[in-house]
């Protein structure tokens, strides 16, 4: 895949601050970054935008908001408030997409938890539209249903998009989360895709939130994944987001070199 479509997610090199992230991406010829909110806020959002513009890079998304589920109304309100703040941050940074990690099951009730998520998205969608930010529901891997998101399939994410039906709502598809899905081809075809992310599946998993593999090291047909998305009309950026204790411990320059090699080999 052409490097012009690559975006470096800050969680692939989590020890870097915002300035270093911009530097390594620019030096490696990667034309865009996808920073997480923490690293962006630590640097200052306005400064971050200026720095990115001076470096000639694009920002593809600001990761992330959501977590709509809570046992209490106060908890759900807090999530909505934080999402509104995240939308403002994305707007200020110039990030077109805000991925939504929707929140885990609560009250042992997947159905009720999903209703909370739908309700939460409905409460922030107009704010997103006013800020010209697109919300991207990201179905997560089912191993994250207990602590990150009970939206665990592309079919569910597509379904929420279909029922809310708003131009500022789409889906962010991370190969790591959906690769095993027997309905993946069909669901990708009908998906209002606003972002694509890559990481490979490797085992064993010693930390279920940070055990991702570098593209090419695992069992996912990532080449097929990105080409299928292209056939379906998705021509936007492709973020490499390797959340991994192993890769976090390596030299970030080396990690980014590997990202470039593996991405262009797809």
């Amino acid at each position: 895949m052409e490097l012009s479509r690559c975006s470096l997610n800050s969680m692939t090199v989590p020890r870097l601050d915002f300035e270093q992230l911009v530097e390594v991406a620019a030096r490696a010829g990667i034309p865009a970054i996808a920073p997480w909110r923490e690293v962006t806020r630590a640097y200052g959002i306005r400064r971050a935008r200026d720095l990115v513009e001076r470096a000639g890079l694009a920002v593809t998304s600001l990761c992330r908001a959501g977590m709509f589920t809570s046992e209490t109304a106060a908890g759900r309100q807090e999530a909505v408030d934080d999402c509104r703040l995240a939308i403002d941050e994305a707007h200020e940074l110039g990030a077109p997409v805000l991925p939504l990690v929707c929140g885990p099951v609560v009250d042992k009730n997947p159905r009720g938890s999903r209703a909370m998520i739908r309700d939460g998205i409905e409460r922030i969608i107009e704010h997103a539209a006013q800020a010209s930010v697109v919300l991207g529901i990201e179905p997560l891997h089912p191993m994250l249903a207990g602590d990150r998101s009970i939206i665990t399939s592309l079919a569910e994410a597509n379904g929420i998009c279909g029922s809310i039906d708003h131009p500022n709502l789409g889906v962010v598809i991370d190969a790591y989360n959906v690769w095993f899905d027997p309905d993946l081809d069909d669901e990708m075809m009908r998906s209002p895709c606003v972002g694509l992310q890559l990481a490979d599946w490797v085992v064993p998993i010693r930390n279920h939130t940070a055990a991702r593999g570098m593209p090419g090291d695992g069992c996912i047909d990532l080449s097929g994944f990105v080409h299928r998305a292209k056939e379906n009309g998705y021509l936007g950026p492709i973020e490499v987001e390797v959340i991994s204790e192993r890769w976090a411990a390596e030299d970030p320059e080396r990690v980014v070199q590997l990202v470039v090699e593996r991405f262009t080999a797809l």
Copy 2:
């Protein structure tokens, strides 16, 4: 749930040999066991059957066979041969059900891997019928798709059963593997269920093959799960299979007491 429906899976107390497994189950008032093949073979299958009969216990299943996927024809043949052996072992032990862990993705090709699985089952189903053993396709949690089974949903397992359509083929449903599935209710309703298993979902996961929770400790509505199965007409045994590094390290007697408490509280 009545303890008369409980079966103790040997992996809940993996440090016990077959004789000890029978003893702790009988002492705790659990009327059945579900031993793994290793622990059964180590004791001797014929002796194991005699011991179980003398103790007045039932065997609900012999865990497990499958692993049909392989890059090579020789590897696939080896799996089929092992499955035939496992069917013979189940017959000799008097275990009515042989759960199938179907094998991971190979060649980065989920579709091709699933075809290998279907083919493998077709190659052993008549042998199972002759031995009066029912094969139970067990959909595994998607976090096991890379090293255990690319059959990761109840819909897929039901689909294979529907297409092969044989009285000696059914599905073993473990709550741990399918609890997050938005289609769970519908798929349970149409499932040819021949076995039910319980473990709870707890985080963090430090070993993706052995991080299960004791029923009641996690976020799965296990009570709803077993009652739904009953409503759908499943009145057979319910195995407690808590594959867990944590519980494996505890005193087995204490673990089994907890199993009894939690099971009867469902």
